[in-house]
Amino acid sequence: MSRSSNIPAALFLRVVLWLLALVTIIPFLLLLLTSIKSKADVLKGAFALPAYPHFENYLDAWNAGHFNIYFWNSIVVVIPVVAASVFLGLLTGFAFAYLSFPLRRTLFAILTLGMMVPAEAFIIPLYYEMRYLGLINTYAALIIPQIAMSIPFSTIFLASAMQQLPEEVLEAAVLDGAGRFYILRKIVIPLMIPAMSTLALFLFIWTWNEFLIPFILVNDDAYRTLPLGMLFFQGRYTVNTPVLTAGAVIVIFPLILTYLVFQRRFIAGLTAGATK
């Protein structure tokens, strides 16, 4: 009885849900559409289709717009940041999960502080520190602070994953006389692969998207990463909307690809981390 009146209501609800989903991704669809238009096509209206796709916009963005440099810089920064952050997170996470040391609570509090305080709060001293070290306009300026900023999350994420490992396995290895480095390498790390890859995924997205660090610590175009390149590209090319949108697609395409491939792992890690 109530069921029959529910069917139109349920259908209506789903239509609303799908409309909302469509509205959410419309900016991306428009971006994609505009990126294959000519300048003349743009004047015909945002929703009008081009006569034929102008893929040369991508070439313009890539070469004339320096997106080849920005893309390369993003890769050069992201790989060492992710690798070093996961590695250091394993070491410090191992210490927080299994080892005793003085000032344990204090050190933990200091680490969590770094997760709460945004980079904006300490960017001025960091800028002068990097300047003192002569690292402004180097890859090191983009890489080292980014690793340091990732350490709290990497440590806490991996430490709590390590605490879930069955203790008997580790005890058995100790009884067999295995050293700690050996146990870390041969037993803990293989069991940590899922957690490590989730962590790597987060670190990849955060580093790829980082804006403030490259914005303040680098002003030479040769070292700009993609989001920064996009900002300065906008300054130069505001009138050339098709090339601008092609550039935006170049920035977000690797993200969308990564997200679609690893979506389950990403969401699972996100919700597990968030509700802990």
């Binding site: 989903a21 709060a121 001025i124 002068y128 989001p227 993200l255």
Partner: protein, 297 residues
Amino acid sequence: MKRSALDGTQQTNFIYLLPGLLLYAAFVFGPIVAALGLSLTSWDGLTMPRWVGLGNYADLFSDSRFYIALRNNAELMIFYCVLPLVLGITLAACVWNLKQREQLALRTFLFLPYIMPTAVLGIIWAWLYNPAFGPFNQFLRAVGLGRFALPWLGDFNFVLPAVGIVATWYFFGFCMVIFLTGIQRIDPSLFDAAKVDGASARKTFFWITLPLLMPEIRVVLLLTVIASIKSFDLIFTMTRGGPANATLVPNIYMYQLGFELNRFGAAAAIAIVGALLTFAINFAIHRLVGARSKGLA
């Protein structure tokens, strides 16, 4: 006293701890402490810093622009925190008993903005809002609402909501995903019992779903409130705080004072006030919303 079978002497334990902690101390914790010290000085970045005690803070709290920035930030919290929370929880309650595949598809779309760089989203939305050739106004004109086609980012009254909506769009799918897993965590027999008792969908939502989602509500509030206080990228790329301070927020003000006017002491004071605000709100949310979580320490 051993924490686990793997525990060793303290000297050897430090081998594991030190590399990460040293790097963190040098490039995060040290600069945080330095920012605190810097906020107590007057410094132009060239000459020696001059000690002014709490002078910078006193100046801030008699600075009308700082109050404007705080008020804008408070208004933006409606878009950063309240709207995504309400939308996310409503959507989760609608989506969770759809079929798996449809749920997954909707989630994929709604979550998409959250993985994007906010700086690039700001640039994209500045284009969407462009008064002359922006798709948003073209759409309004096409559906006969041309008189509402405003210069959104140039209009003193509408710029804050226009920027805020982008934040809502960025966060609401994320909130929905968190709430979806929250609902799946709830014991299904509770919903069955409610159905047997003849409870309406609305009653079930307000008496079962909502109270049991408190841990997720707390997490979402924490993350979005922190995000709103640290908001910089999105606003900087869309409006740079303008027009006429209409979207000025503390971090934009911090950037202007520090990197444009070389008043680094005053800028550091804003950064510290922002950090303290984050702690205070963090503490309040932990106290007021839901149970406390277990820590690692």
